[in-house]
């Protein structure tokens, strides 16, 4: 099913939950809503589900406006962060409830629930109550309940945030595989950018109720349109340095105190002559090299595979990944080389990208 949101807005008095959100989701697409806590992801999702009435704007399913359709008439499956299982029903009744409401005969319900439960690997738990299940098992029941009625649209509201890291990883790929197999249009709300990057076909980044960007993951990563997106997407987050870009002898230099970097002209020319701009560079695009810019190590955080160094060059503080076997210490001087083909430039006032705004 194709989903369209047109200027979708939700307000409570002067609290704004979602602010003029417009986007399209193609049939079978997997879209992630990504944003920090309180940015309106759940609000938007609940409007699509029909729980919240939009203050303004339209929701269209396959071109038809569904604003006034009750939740039960939208044929949606939803998985909640809290699982929202019915505590007084066992697994069979929980998963079978949507079918029972549709008036499916008992035998048929049992058969279909068993089928879905087997697919989710919880086929042997059918007569347990939710309180007798582990978090991961409850999560599967919730997923089974959303899938059993063969919905046209699947909504996930941070379904994995209550699971431990390992389970989260395996559930992540499992959900992705299921979605691909069943081809159900899906919206997946998360504030975990790794989840969004790995699972989604397209990511809608939200902030303060507004849609910041809506594009495929790699574009979000390589061509961030705002300072917010650049800082939010990627782990460890992008480094930001206040620089001034000047043209000298046909070359573009990004300069700050103790810092002079030659940048490619197709990037540099867009940032030159504007006074102070913000240069962004990802930690993985910085490396230690003998011919680099010198700086002093301020903090060393061991991450296991790498050490995350916080290096000070003048006033700038830059995160770099380094080989732990180098045994670097606080106070050591290191030299940094920047991959200038990946640097970003932002306007400090508007916080928009100077490279990717059209």
């Amino acid at each position: 099913m194709k989903v369209e949101l047109v200027n979708l807005t939700k307000r409570w008095g002067n609290v704004v939950g979602a602010d003029h959100i417009t986007l399209e989701i193609e049939h079978g697409e997997f879209v992630a809503f990504l944003g920090p806590s309180g940015c309106g992801k759940t609000t938007t999702l609940l409007m699509i589900a029909g729980i919240y009435k939009p203050t303004e704007g339209l929701i269209k399913f396959d071109g038809k406006v569904v604003n006034h359709l009750a939740p039960k008439d939208r044929n949606i499956g939803m998985v909640f962060q809290s699982y929202a299982l019915y505590p007084h029903m066992n697994v069979l009744q929980n998963i079978g409830y949507p079918l029972k409401l549709k008036g499916v005969p008992k035998q048929e319900i049992r058969k279909r629930v068993q089928q879905v439960a087997n697919m989710m690997g919880i086929g042997h738990l059918l007569d347990r109550k939710p309180a007798q299940l582990s978090g991961g098992q409850q999560q599967r029941v919730a997923l089974g309940r959303a899938l059993v009625k063969q919905p046209d649209l699947l909504l996930f509201d941070e379904p994995l945030s209550n699971l431990d890291a390992r389970l989260r990883l395996s559930m992540r790929s499992e959900i992705k595989r299921l979605q691909l197999e069943l081809g159900i249009t899906s919206i997946y709300v998360t504030h975990d950018q790794v989840e969004a990057m790995t699972m989604a076909d397209r990511i809608a980044v939200m902030k303060d109720g507004k849609l910041q960007a809506y594009c495929p993951p790699d574009e979000l990563y390589d061509r961030p349109r705002t300072l917010f997106i650049a800082g939010f997407v990627g782990n460890p987050p992008m480094n930001f340095i206040n620089v001034e870009v000047v043209q000298e002898d046909g070359e573009y230099h990004a300069r700050a105190e103790g810092f002079d970097l030659v940048v490619p002209s197709e990037r540099g020319e867009k940032a030159a002559g504007r006074g102070r701009v913000i240069m962004g560079v990802r930690p993985e695009d910085v490396c230690l090299a003998d011919d680099g810019i010198p700086g002093e190590i301020y903090v060393v955080e061991p991450l296991g595979r790498d050490d995350l160094l916080n290096v000070r060059i003048g006033e700038a503080s830059i995160h770099v990944l380094a080989d732990p076997t180098l045994n670097l210490r606080i106070g050591d001087t290191v030299r940094l080389r920047f991959n200038t083909h990946k640097v970003q430039f932002f306007d400090p006032q508007t916080e928009n990208s100077l490279l990717w705004t059209d």
Binding site: L46, A49, G50, I51, A70, P71, K72, R74, I76, G77, M78, F80, Q81, S82, Y83, A84, L85, Y86, P87, H88, Y97, P98, L101, K102, P130, A131, Q138, R145, K149
Partner: protein, 299 residues
């Protein structure tokens, strides 16, 4: 070395026994007056006269047991008033339970104009002592009596009328209590049910109500007890013995002219107490569970 540990172990055990013994002693001491009261009541019902806890016969010697006081059990009247008491109690359980669980749900889950005002008004109503309303209620019941159809069911001097008044006086508290229980149910579960395809009413009935069973049970128990032992309302709004309930019957035994047989009154009192005691025996676990924090378990 070993002996000392055994010694201290023994000492420890002794200390524990002493500790719990003190606790029991204090507990027994504090409920002693109540126990004595019950014992007195029980003894009194089987004797002609009592002096202190001891039954005495006409000569003033200890003895003189009798079943005379229980002869009221053969009077068909007692069974009618018992049935009336039961009717009022069950009427309250059903009436208050039904209305407050619906109203509580609405007030907890739905937003409508006047919701806040309604809530504070209900609380205010609950603060009103019902005695102050007796005269006004009398006129209301008289008015209902005149309505054809409803009059014989809920008018003045009818069981229905008494139950109606008791239910309405209990509703403010019941609605608030239920609203509190509904407030504790997660929104997500309700939303999930709506998305699964349930109507609002079905969500209330199949998803929410089962989760507040302990709350409903508590409300039912309290209402049963207050209906079973109701005196003021039935006494005020009934005349004669046809619609009297047990407490009113008890009052009627205290005649103003003839000397009162207090031992018979004790017997009727005990008779009224028996169902309550049995009831408590079976529900005390549930009641305790409610007092110590309401619904437990669940997700």
């Amino acid at each position: 070395m070993e002996t000392t540990t055994i010694e201290t172990g023994r000492l420890y055990g002794l200390k524990r026994i002493l500790g719990s013994a003190t606790a029991y002693f204090l507990l027994i001491l504090s409920i002693l007056p109540i126990l004595v009261g019950y014992a007195w009541l029980l003894i009194a019902t089987f004797s002609y006269r009592t002096e202190g806890l001891f039954p005495i016969d006409a000569q003033g010697n200890i003895g003189g047991w009798t079943l005379r006081n229980w002869s009221f059990l053969t009077d068909p009247q007692i069974w009618r008033v018992t049935l009336n008491s039961l009717g009022i109690a069950l009427g309250m359980v059903v009436g208050v339970g039904f209305v407050s669980s619906l109203a509580g749900y609405g007030l907890s889950r739905m937003n409508f104009p006047g919701r806040k005002a309604f809530l504070s008004l209900t609380l205010l109503l609950h603060a009103f002592p019902s005695v102050t309303l007796l005269i006004a209620i009398f006129f209301v019941l008289k008015f209902i009596s005149k309505i054809p159809g409803l009059g014989p069911l809920f008018g003045y001097n009818t069981l229905g009328g008494v139950a109606l008044v008791m239910v309405s006086l209990e509703l403010p508290l019941g609605v608030w209590l239920m609203k509190g229980f509904f407030d504790n149910i997660s929104w997500d579960v309700e939303r999930a049910a709506l998305i699964d395809g349930a109507s609002r009413f079905r969500v209330w009935w199949e998803i929410i109500l089962p989760q507040i069973k302990p709350g409903l049970a508590a409300l039912a128990i309290f209402n049963f007890l207050s209906g079973w032992s109701a005196f003021l309302i039935p006494f005020t709004f009934t005349v004669g013995s046809k619609v009297a309930n047990l407490p009113v019957y008890l009052r009627q035994l205290m005649s103003e002219t003839a000397p009162t047989n207090w031992n018979q009154i004790a017997a009727v009192g005990l008779f009224q107490l028996i169902p309550v005691l049995i009831f408590f025996l079976f529900t005390q676990e549930l009641l305790l569970n409610i007092y110590t924090g309401g619904a437990k378990g669940g997700v």
